[in-house]
Every structure is written in C-alpha cells, then in structure tokens.
C-alpha cells in the first residue's frame, strides 16, 4: 500500500509556525520579520503585490463586529 503523506493538523501548523520564535526577544523577532520582508522585496523586485479583494471589506468588520459572526 502506498504511504499516505501526513497532512499537518491546524494545531501542528500553529505550533510549528511559532516554535522558532518562542524563546526570542521581541527585538529578535522583529529582526526575523524584517528579514522575511526583505525576501518579499526581492521577490517583488519593484512590482506591486497582488491583493485579493476582501468580502466584506475590512472596514465594515472594523466598524461592526456582528459582520464576523459565523453562520
């Protein structure tokens, strides 16, 4: 039987995403953040990032918490 690759759970993903930074200071975390953004600068190479429109737009959620109520 072929082996089915393990798909990480939401919890595994969340823990993996924060693990490298748990023992860092806020300043160290911001250095990593700036490094990630520098990679984005290199990838964009002067082009504008493409944005998916939000529906409903963020400002409606900022003004009215009832909009975020799950159906």
């Amino acid at each position: 039987m072929p082996e089915v690759p393990h798909v990480p759970t939401d919890e595994e993903t969340a823990r993996r995403d924060v693990a490298p930074y748990l023992d860092m200071t806020p300043q160290e975390r911001l250095q990593v953040f700036a490094s990630l953004l520098a990679d984005m600068d290199a990838l964009l190479n002067g082009r504008m990032p493409v944005e998916a429109p939000e529906d409903p737009p963020f400002w409606m959620r900022w003004k009215d918490p009832s909009i975020g109520r799950p159906s």
Partner: protein, 190 residues
Amino acid sequence: MVALRSLPELAATISADLAAAKIRHAVSGAVAMAVHGFVRATKDVDILVIVPQIRLPEVFAIVRGQGFQGTDAELIRGLRERGFAELRSGPVRVEILAPVLPYHHTLPDRALSVEISGTSVPFVSLEDLVVLKVLWHRQKDIPDILSLLAAARDFDAAYVRSTLASILPADDPRHAELADWIGRYVRRTE
C-alpha cells in the same frame, strides 16, 4: 519608495513622532503579531490613533513625512466613512485606524512597549490582537488566532472572554469557538 523590510523601523519612527506630538496610539497588525511571536509576511503598518478630529492632519503629516501619499481631505473622508485611512508608498501601506467601538479606545492602555532603535513603541497586546481577530473573523484571521494562542505565555483568557462578552451577544458562536481554541492551543492559562 519605502521597502517592506523597513516596516519595523517605519513603525518605530512614526510611533516616535506620534509620541512627541502626545498622540495616543498603538501599533497593531502583523508587526504587532511578530512582536508577540508569530512572524508572517505583510505589506501594512496598522496604527490605531486616538486623537480629536481636528488633529488628524498632524497624524497624516507625520506619515507623509516618511514618504507616504494621501491628501488630508481624502484621508479624513476615509476615516469618517470607513474608520480607517490608508497612505501608500510603493508596496507599503500605512493604515491609520480610528476607534469606532468603545473597546477600541482602551487598546493603548494594555499595549506592550518594546524598545526599537531607542524608541519605546506601544504594540497592541497579544490578548487584544486575539479579541480583534475573533471579532473580524476573516478566513485569514483564524490561523493568525491559532498561532498567537500557540505563542502565548501567561495568556489572560479571562480578559479575552470578558471583553468579548462585553461586545458580542451571549449566543454568538465565537464565544464557544474561542473557548475551544484556548483549551487546545494555550500552554499556560490564567
């Protein structure tokens, strides 16, 4: 054109200028999430400012001083109609948020001050980032919430619960949803 890699320094510079003008504020969004231990990409600096309308042009002038564009008239219209104003420079946006809910006014009170390049910058607390994202509940907010909870140390779950209870009706499913997430993701609670 402002580069994305400069966002932390940009947030610190704008914050220093706002503080010098005695304007209450707090940095939110992905820059604040990075401070709290969840690092992900963004192109925005989000800053909540609590200031009388008559002083809004001072806020916009501070941001324009960093190379951003936007006229006072269009920015004030944005704040009146949408609760936020957006100034752009290349791929970078600075979003100035104005308080709409009474809760928004309290965010700077619990901000975490972090020293950046000699400036003490107030960042929206981890608990308040969770509250805000539970309220907004966009698709991208859910993984942000889970990662923030996984990054949390000494998470004040009681504050988050009571704050949401003061904003949302009792039958809102977000209360139970968050309780489940807190139970599963937070290492040390209350």
